[in-house]
């Protein structure tokens, strides 16, 4: 893991309040593994103070990595205001990545909202051996498949207002798929808002399908030093809390206490 100043190569709007940023860093592009994240120093002054965590959404050429982010507050607003030539302090790659085999056939990726950021990276690595279910509130939030460099055939969309794809939740699509197929997916990877992940847990846990989720939590250090990013471990684990930045952000779905979280 390294800490450096990375230059913005591009920073383009790809959906409502959502931008895709390319940052120049040969080192991070080389080391990045799907599921890992970076901590971004959003400005030079003491307010806002803390770095913001963002999943690595992909790598571009040899020397650029991607961040897909939604503008939700001050830090992401500052990022959205940046142009090529500007730069940010970057710390990463951080955390664990997704586990996936050389031959990932039958993998199912389930993304809610910005959860598509780490899964888009994973999907790219799996190419046509997977299907990606992408859920949004509405069509204006939909991330164009090409922006993530994915082949259209591999992505199924759901919107809660029905403005695009399936009318409903992305977990509906997951449920159908699990029912419809044999063969059930051999591997499920999910990332999104906590309520969605709880729903995924509800569908998966009893089926015993291999499933990894990428979690979020407020963070200070991103390095496992401050213990600020605790999430409750499932009963019977060797500890009461995991730390998202170090033990995660990718966890086996069985490792988390979905009641407490």
């Amino acid at each position: 893991m390294i800490e450096q100043h990375a230059e913005v190569i591009f920073n383009d709007p790809v959906a409502a309040d959502t931008c895709l940023m390319g940052l120049k860093s040969r080192e991070i592009a080389a080391r990045a593994h799907p599921g890992q994240f970076v901590m971004v120093r959003v400005g030079p002054h003491a307010d806002p103070l803390l770095r913001r965590p963002f999943s690595i959404c992909g790598v571009w050429e040899q020397d650029c990595f991607l961040i897909l982010y939604r503008v939700v507050g001050r830090g992401t607003r500052m990022m959205a205001d940046a142009g090529s030539g500007d730069g940010f302090g970057i710390l990463g790659p951080l955390g664990t990545g997704f586990d996936f085999p050389e031959q990932p056939e039958g993998s199912l990726l389930v993304a809610g909202g910005m959860g598509i950021a780490p899964l888009g990276f994973l999907a790219g690595r799996m190419d046509r051996d997977m299907h990606l279910l992408a859920g949004y509130g509405s069509i204006d939030q939909q991330i164009p498949v090409h922006a993530l460099g994915l082949s259209p055939g591999t992505v199924l969309t759901a919107t809660e207002d029905g403005s695009a794809g399936h009318h409903g939740r992305v977990t509906d699509l997951l449920e159908e798929t699990l029912k419809r197929s044999p063969p059930t997916p051999t591997r499920v990877y999910a990332c999104g808002p906590t309520p969605m992940l709880k729903a995924v847990a509800g569908l998966i846990l009893n089926r015993g399908v291999f499933c990894q989720v990428s979690l979020e939590s407020t963070m200070a250090c991103g390095l496992g030093a401050c213990q600020g990013c605790a999430v409750p471990a499932a009963p019977g684990r060797d500890r009461k809390y995991y730390h998202v930045c170090q033990d995660g952000p990718v966890f086996d779905i069985g490792a988390i206490d979905w009641e407490q979280i």
């Binding site: 893991m1 307010d47 103070l49 803390l50 401050c226 213990q227 990013c229």
Partner: protein
């Protein structure tokens, strides 16, 4: 130009430079090892250790505030035994001062943790966190009362042969009184400040943001308060003082040294700039070179005169 001498003394403890890491913000050192070579630091204060492991508080544990952050980690730590088994061996390989921060909820706990660390090689000193709730006194912090502060100090000193640094709480009416009580009890040095108690409320949920309701405020926001208290305590005691609180840059550190601190600890700054401590060491050297100061000790207390 002859190299600048950054050596400083904390009573019996000698440091190669005045830059330390603050407890709870640098883990057990290893978390930062890829970015910060510990041998370049004056020393590291590791996460607060208690007799038994503690899981800590329910999340959320941190929230950002203007130029600062609140934390309610709840002193989560692996406990004395796991520390000795899992963390210490790596720390023992380092060429820097390793200071172990300890705490307890009873005088006995403090004494037992100290005893458990006694005689162990590779540990340069203890830093005693007296900001914790005193179970016997309905959770009122040990550090809020001069008498209790002194008794914790004595309890620790009785069980350890290493230098003992007592870390003071800023949430008191007169920190000078506490400082003198702890000095009289025999502490070798003092470090201050620990966090100021604070709170944040989520106006959507109408509840405190932190799982623990309140937390400790740290970061640049508290620097002026820390600097004032260091300035006061340096006047009040004869033992060396370590400045802590909102120190991020070499310029920040210089303010504390000039106020009379013999060393500084960097806490929240490590989160913002993981290499803050290294840049601070270089910055102190550059400042001394620019000003033609041969030894950093020359500026310690420089701003004490006119007060």
């Amino acid at each position: 130009m002859s190299p600048v001498d950054l050596n400083v003394r904390l009573g019996p403890l000698e440091l190669k430079n005045p830059v330390l890491t603050a407890s709870g913000t640098f883990g057990y050192g290893r978390e930062f090892a890829e970015l910060v070579d510990p041998s370049r630091l004056g020393g590291m204060v590791v996460k607060g250790i208690s007799l038994k492991p503690r899981p800590g508080n329910p999340p959320p544990r941190i929230v950002e505030t203007p130029c600062g952050m609140l934390n309610a980690i709840g002193l989560a730590n692996v406990g004395l035994d796991a520390f000795l088994k899992e963390k210490l061996p790596w720390l023992q390989t380092l060429h820097t001062a390793v200071i172990v921060n300890i705490y307890g909820h009873t005088l006995e706990e403090y004494a037992q943790v100290a005893a458990g660390l006694n005689g162990i090689e590779g540990i340069s000193a203890l830093e005693v966190n007296i900001s914790c709730p005193n179970v016997a006194r309905g959770g009122m912090a040990f550090g809020a009362d001069p008498d209790m502060s002194a008794r914790v100090t004595e309890a620790v000193l009785k069980h350890i042969d290493k230098p003992v640094i007592v870390k003071l709480s800023p949430n008191v009416t007169d920190i000078g009184v506490i400082a003198r009580a702890v000095e009289t009890a025999g502490a070798h040095a003092l470090s201050l400040i620990n966090t100021l108690t604070g709170m944040a409320i989520d106006i959507e949920t109408r509840k405190p943001v932190l799982g623990n309701s309140s937390g400790g405020l740290s970061g640049p926001a508290i620097r002026p308060v820390a600097l004032y208290m260091v300035h006061q305590v340096v006047k009040a005691v004869r033992i060396p003082v370590i400045g802590v609180g909102g120190i991020v840059t070499a310029e920040d550190a210089l303010q504390f040294l000039m106020a009379g601190a013999s060393a500084v600890e960097v806490g929240t700054g490590n989160f913002v700039y993981p290499k803050a401590t290294l840049e601070m060491v270089d910055g102190l050297t550059r400042f001394c070179e620019k000003k033609g100061i041969p030894a950093i000790t020359e500026i310690i207390g420089a701003a004490q005169q006119d007060c």
